[in-house]
Structure formats: structure tokens, C-alpha cells
């Protein structure tokens, strides 16, 4: 995976950091030339994965990078934590699933907002969510 230029890291440990992460995502997406609608979609996806960190792991980080592939660019969003991990990822991606008094819509919702979405998680090892939103050519 080739990434260029943009390299932003936001530490996530409280709900105020969720707001910071989406503001950072918004300005990065805007600078890359995403449409106003896509900027909002990106900020919303970041909000969901950042909240997932706060709710389940307590702390973690969000990385924003610009990705280049086959002549196109995209915003790469990585949300990672060293929390308890997700015991059953497949189950967690089903809308309505929840273990923490939330709507249980966060992760499946985020997946619907981006072009690529991947979760790596193992018990006791933490969770890494990798998402890409490609810039329309």
C-alpha cells in the first residue's frame, strides 16, 4: 500500500477526541479535494470508529494518510487500539449487535460509508480497523 504526504495521528481517549478526530478527517478530506458530501461521509465514518475505541478499548489512535493506487487517490483511515479485542467480528458487524449500551450500529454503519473496510481483532490483542474512501476521478 503506497501512502504519500498526509500523515495525521489523533490520540483517542475521550469523547472530546471523537470530535477532534472527525474535524481532522474533515480538513484532510477537504484538502484532498473530496466533495462536501464525501467530506461529511468521511467525518461520520471516523466518528463511528473513534467511538468504538472509546467505548470498548478506552484509548487508541486514529491515523489518516493519503493512499495512491492505479493513478487514483484515497483517504486511508486506520483506527487502532490495544483493548480487549472483538470476540466475534462477524457478529459485531451485524447491525444491532451491541455489548456496550449503544445502538450497535457503529461498525456496520462505518462500513457502509466507505469503499474498503477491514477489521483485524483478536482477544486481548486489540483491534485495528482499516478503511479507505477513494476520491472520484
Amino acid at each position: 500500500m503506497t501512502t504519500v504526504g498526509l500523515d495525521i495521528r489523533v490520540t483517542i481517549s475521550s469523547d472530546a477526541d471523537i470530535v477532534t478526530a472527525r474535524a481532522q478527517g474533515r480538513s484532510a478530506a477537504r484538502a484532498m479535494g473530496f466533495s462536501t458530501t464525501d467530506v461529511t461521509i468521511i467525518a461520520t465514518a471516523i466518528s463511528e470508529v473513534a467511538r468504538n475505541i472509546v467505548q470498548y478499548a478506552g484509548r487508541g489512535e486514529i491515523l489518516l494518510r493519503e493512499r495512491r493506487e492505479d493513478g487514483r487517490s484515497g483517504l486511508l483511515i486506520v483506527a487502532r487500539d490495544e483493548g480487549p479485542g472483538i470476540p466475534d467480528v462477524e457478529e459485531a458487524m451485524r447491525p444491532g449487535y451491541s455489548t456496550s449500551n449503544s445502538l450497535g450500529f457503529g461498525l456496520p454503519g462505518a462500513k457502509r460509508l466507505v469503499d474498503e473496510f477491514e477489521i483485524e481483532s483478536s482477544r486481548g490483542q486489540g483491534t485495528t480497523i482499516t478503511m479507505t474512501k477513494w476520491l472520484a476521478r
Partner: protein, 118 residues
């Protein structure tokens, strides 16, 4: 940041002034639910024009304002959802089912007049 809640006859008008954290949004929900009783309000307008992101948590909290205030005898109308926010909400797969919505404050008050038979 506290959300100012104004009383206008039998209605409460709450205009969110800036981005809110999850905690502030929950405080606002509790505050407005309490104020329904204090002011004997029949209708509530929540203006979300300034919100540039309405994610699953915000949807759930705003929706619950509608449910809680209904139990307290008042109707709630959410107004000012920005077009790009609406698109993101639909793509997210979430809407305000069960809650009333209107374009802006004026339309929101007109809808409350209808709902309360004023």
C-alpha cells in the same frame, strides 16, 4: 457547551450552537426532558443546523428526545438537518423513524401547531 432552551408560548425551542460531544448531547437530552415538565411544554423544536456530523450515537440520542418527551406529553420536531448530513445518515442506514422532522424553525413550529391542534 450548554444548549440554550427558549420558551415560546407552549413550545420549547432548542438551537444547538456548536458541535457537541456525546456527553454534552446526553446532558442536553436530559435537560430538555426535564424542562418539558417545568414549562408544561406541548411541543419542542430541536434545531440541528450547526451539526456537521450526525452519527449513530447522535441519531439515537436525538431520537430518544422524541420518545422521552412524548412520554411527558410533548411532540418533538427536529429541524435543520443539512443535505450532506442527510445523505450520510441514509448511507449509514439510519433515519429518524418515529421522530418528526422539518426543514427549518418556521416549518417546525408550523408542524407543532398541526400536531397540537393549535
Amino acid at each position: 457547551m450548554r444548549v440554550p432552551i427558549l420558551k415560546q408560548e407552549n413550545y420549547l425551542i432548542a438551537s444547538i450552537q456548536s458541535t457537541l460531544t456525546d456527553e454534552e448531547l446526553v446532558e442536553f437530552r436530559d435537560d430538555i426532558t426535564r424542562q418539558v415538565g417545568r414549562h408544561r411544554a406541548r411541543g419542542i423544536v430541536v434545531d440541528v443546523t450547526v451539526l456537521d456530523v450526525i452519527d449513530s450515537f447522535a441519531v439515537r440520542t436525538l431520537r430518544s428526545i422524541g420518545e422521552l418527551t412524548r412520554l411527558r406529553g410533548a411532540h418533538t420536531v427536529i429541524v435543520g438537518i443539512q443535505p450532506e448530513v442527510a445523505i450520510a445518515m441514509v448511507q449509514l442506514g439510519l433515519g429518524f423513524e418515529g421522530a418528526h422532522t422539518a426543514l427549518d424553525l418556521e416549518e417546525g413550529i408550523a408542524l407543532l401547531d398541526e400536531l397540537t391542534g393549535k
